[in-house]
Amino acid sequence: MSRYILRRLLMALPVVVGILLLTFLIQAVIPTDAVSAMYEGQVTEDEAAEAIAAMRERYGLDQPWYVQFVRYGANVLQGDFGESIRLRRPVSEEIGYRFVNTLTLTGVALLIGIGIGVPMGIISAAKKDTWLDVGAMTVGLLGISMPAFFFGLLLILVFAVWLMWIPVVPRGGAALLLPALTLGLIEAAPLSRIARSAMIEILRRDHIRAARSRGMGEFSVIMRHALPGTLLAVMTVIGLQFGNLLGGAFIIEVIFGWRGIGELGVKAIQWRDFALTQAIILISAGAHISANLLVDILYAWIDPRVDYDQ
């Protein structure tokens, strides 16, 4: 088992290095760097050229990209993610709490998504091909057909402006509510579909038939025998899709001004602040890879038939 985990970690390594390499290649071909993105339009004097050059030198932007890449790699290995040019502070300080914010948003949204989507999927599966099933699946389709930013604005309109249940200006815990709800409702749709498919498949299995034939009520069959398998399927998909989930959270962060890494990432690219961008890409890629790994390990642990060497 530990050999399996180690092997998986080793497999992830080239992916991480590759991603990093890709970001440096991107940086090399993007026409502006952070210094010009900051200065352009602010400074027209030739005298500023010296100051601009000093700034490039300090942040190593005057070096070829591969030198920057090697330097960055060496620094990261020592736990130093560099300093953001725009924010004028170490990247790690900024990324830390923002990543926590992003995880909080994603986590709460997932809970909302699971809380709504899984029961919906189960009901659909139990009442397959009835109007209830069709209704639930149609509602689910509505969820994935809505542009996230449009949905977010509608939620603000309804809950903050019309109903006045929550303040418009995000403060404290209430700040999390709307973005999490938006993301959660959007994610509920695919989750309900996964839950439905998984449940339908499980309900066809022999041990369920056996339980039924023993005279067990449909409700108990679903709750006791089918639910665990369904949840496992849902968790698997969540794990495998964690990167996509984070990506979905990013756009929500931008819309609601939620200070997570996504909102920062969008700004970082517009600022051409690559120290920030690289750290954000690294951390979200890391989260994606570890979530995948966790799912696989979980599977290997649950199902000993998984061949660790294949």
Binding site: V29, M146, F149, L191, G243, N244, G248, V266
Partner: protein, 296 residues
């Protein structure tokens, strides 16, 4: 973006609808209510796109700054926008952009995805490892940042947005096709063909490729609306279609500050995107019912 892509996972390596071939599938599709509704709306969109100049009541680019943000009326069915253009006409012309985005993005993702998937699934172990690690990279790369970076390199335009969305969709297709290829390669008749001296390339073209069609259609029906939504999200960041093109995402974004003052200017493009994507999803739902027997 989002979990929605994962819904397509069950479609992987689905066998063909052998029961009755394509004609049988088509007949079933036509009987499927969700496919009928979705398909009809999409046909209507196609119609609008093809005959936009005749369908639209006004010139979508005609600016009238004295008639800004007029509410819906007999002349302007859906009202006018922030510079006095007729919203209904813009929506009708916008169908062209919508279809174009779907077409180009899917062609890029699908084209490269199929190619990479076939090489990975049908070629050598080295090619497989290389390609799969690359798709891993693309999957782990935060999607929206990847798209932003591509736009930063190429400069914002509708074409860049479509290319960016297309590139971001490649891994999904590549993985799907690869898994189909791996499954098919193990089938007995393929082994037999190999024993008879058929080359790998021949095998891929003659046996693997036809088998990918059905799962590909199912995947396409899921991935395309997601691509269209991503393109709209790019417009939200100001990186999609360029003004004054009547692209729905851009219309929605430019009008969003009027949500409380001139709701029609926001609701019209918002609902247009929603209805179009919804009908694509409905059609996809129907397609999956027909082509993916495991879920029926």
């Amino acid at each position: 973006m989002s979990l929605a892509q994962s819904v397509a996972a069950p479609a992987e390596a689905a066998p063909q609808p052998r029961r009755g071939g394509w004609r049988w599938a088509m007949a079933r599709l036509l009987r499927n209510p969700s496919a009928r509704i979705g398909g009809s709306v999409l046909l209507l969109i196609l119609f609008c796109a093809a005959f936009a100049p005749w369908v639209a009541p006004h010139d979508p680019l005609h600016v009238n700054t004295l008639g800004r943000l007029l509410p819906p009326s007999a002349t302007n069915w859906l009202g006018t926008d922030e510079v006095g253009r007729d919203i209904a006409s813009r929506l009708i012309f916008g169908t062209r952009y919508f279809l174009l985005i779907c077409l180009i993005a899917s062609t890029i993702s699908g084209g490269f995805g199929i190619l990479l998937g076939l090489v990975a699934g049908g070629g050598s172990a080295l090619a497989d490892t290389l390609i799969m690690r690359c798709t891993d990279m693309l999957l782990a790369f935060p999607y929206i940042l990847l798209v932003l970076a591509i736009v930063a390199i190429l400069g914002p335009s509708l074409w860049t947005a479509m290319a960016a969305v297309g590139i971001a969709g490649i891994p999904g297709y590549a993985r799907l096709i690869r898994s189909v290829a791996l499954t098919v390669k193990r089938e007995e008749y393929v082994e037999a063909a190999r024993a008879l001296g058929a080359s790998e390339a021949q095998i891929i073209l003659s046996t693997v490729l036809p088998n990918t069609i059905s799962p590909l259609i199912v995947y396409l029906s899921y991935a395309t609306p997601i691509a269209a939504l991503s393109a709209a999200a790019l417009s939200f960041l100001g990186l999609g279609a360029q003004a004054p093109a009547p692209e729905w995402g851009a219309m929605l974004v430019n009008s969003r500050s009027f949500l409380f003052t001139a709701w029609w200017a926001v609701a019209a493009p918002g609902l247009a995107i929603f209805v179009a994507i919804f009908s694509m999803n409905l059609l996809g739902n129907g397609l999956r019912d027909v082509l993916d027997p495991r879920d029926v």
